[in-house]
Symmetry: C2
Subunit: 304 residues, 2 copies
């Protein structure tokens, strides 16, 4: 799967992913009102508005980008209708040729982690038939429970040619509370990075492993270090844009061939129409222009 993502990144010449994290405040009011009129003030109405909004976004940017990253929490908050909108978003992204990175940050143990893995990137067998319940291509995974939590995902990756990004150093201000604490003179995130390298050894797909890592754009010096510590891991980089990271911070996340990292922006693209820089544009045009601007920023400041 990582090779497929690399191919798409090369084809579009854009190592970026658009985060489909639909907060209610991002959805244009006319869209919400349309579905309120049809379905009342219900979870169904919001879920339909979210899906409509996502379709508009994907139609506007899918020729520019290799992948989308829906954040499942933003759907799960609207209960079952929200999760139906998540699944429809995954399916629509596939029709547009996009790689889907499900930002689910799941992590449990043994048979429970297996359940998450088969549900999201694998298949369940019912009466001899294989069914792919959510069918994302890649998902994010939380490592706090250790190998027992991660290996079931890797088994499914190997069986179904899918991928995972393991949280190593997250983009948020308090990520250091535990992740930066020193163990034998090295921060926890380095210990986790060592494990990512080890976990990924048997999951190579081209030059990279199907076991990648998440490292926040907000910590560029750690990006440099972790890029070297995990030579075969693709790095998913959140925190660009709204969270404070910019193109010049990202140089160290990439290898010299311009590969090795994929940078996410969510709010900066999907809610670009609320930014004065894109004033007067509708949400789709603003998202398209913000995507073009982001790609340019990364080409000029991170990759050259």
């Amino acid at each position: 799967m990582i090779q497929k993502l690399v191919n798409e990144i090369k084809k579009k010449n854009a190592p970026i992913v658009v985060g489909l994290d639909p907060q209610m405040s991002f959805i244009p009011e006319e869209l919400l009102n349309k579905y309120y009129a049809e379905k009342g003030h219900t979870l169904d109405a919001v879920a339909d508005a979210i899906y409509d909004y996502n379709v508009g976004l994907m139609d506007a940017v899918s020729d520019l980008i290799p992948a989308v990253k829906p954040q499942v929490a933003m759907y799960e908050q609207f209960g079952i209708p929200g999760i139906i909108a998540y699944k429809k978003t995954v399916d629509y992204a596939h029709t547009k040729g996009l790689v889907v990175i499900g930002d689910i940050k799941r992590g449990d143990i043994g048979s429970t982690s297996t359940a998450y893995a088969v549900g999201h990137i694998g298949s369940v067998e019912i009466g001899g038939e294989k069914i792919y319940p959510f069918d994302e291509d890649i998902v994010t995974v939380n490592p706090y429970l250790g190998s027992d939590g991660v290996k079931p995902f890797i088994e499914v990756c190997n069986k179904e040619d899918r991928g995972i990004f393991v949280l190593v150093k997250t983009s948020n201000p308090s990520s250091g509370e535990f992740q930066d604490r020193e163990i034998d003179g090295r921060p926890l995130y380095e210990i986790v990075a060592d494990k990512v390298t080890e976990w990924g050894l048997d999951s190579m797909d081209g030059d990279y492993s199907n076991v990648g890592a998440v490292v926040g754009a907000t910590y560029p010096e750690m990006g440099i270090l972790l890029r070297k510590a995990m030579p075969k891991a693709y790095i998913l980089v959140p925190g660009y844009g709204a969270q404070g990271g910019s193109g010049k911070d990202l140089k160290g996340f990439f290898n010299e061939d311009g590969l090795g990292a994929i940078v996410n922006s969510s709010r900066g693209i999907i809610a670009a129409y609320k930014n004065e820089k894109y004033a007067g544009m509708d949400y789709k045009d603003a998202a398209r222009q913000a995507t073009i601007d982001m790609i340019e920023d990364i080409r000029v400041n991170a990759l050259s």
Copy 2:
């Protein structure tokens, strides 16, 4: 909320919770076949069988226990129909007067953690109306992302009188890979435990905080230490039974008043009919007898 759980524990005189973690291999074949006949080999059929099985289990044991703990992964693996079965299970548990601990192990940052929190233990506001999408009473939370990930849950707990259990020391064999690593001479799980105490200070509900902790039954010596380190945190104890923990290992998880911990068993109860000890019983009778036996084990070996 924790006071409500304590009241129910006292009323039933049983500090235990039954984990509703329906693996397909646990569901009696006649139940699966009934729904296969109706709906074919589909996710819908399995989801209906799961819900039917759960109703049978809850009917069999609800007078004996204060709470159930559905593990959402086991539902999520069956896609949207699975999640519908999860939600119906939560609702049915409430009609039986049971406290519902959603074992979701979510954890993200900022607005994303808020989304998980409002979706599971809180409410979303749509056109001025409050809707509770999943409506569990308590959920489990992963702390790897630090305070940014946990505080949004606590805000919702305080607003809606709900609770969380934060993963501190999990029951699985590899939990030590990161959780036991020493930081300034103390293992990471102790550093997390300090944070649990700090996070819970403003969420007191009776003698305990709505911010509790997860500590595995498989690590009794750490249970003793963590019981003292987090005096106000209720401890949810997984790992009893099938994972190897037994009543005598659990003494140290409780305070002298017999409170402070609630012990989970999943497979040992819901699949008791597959255990030769309960041979010949149907799944409901076996679950009931296994619950009675577990309560007895804990009363005799952990609490006296």
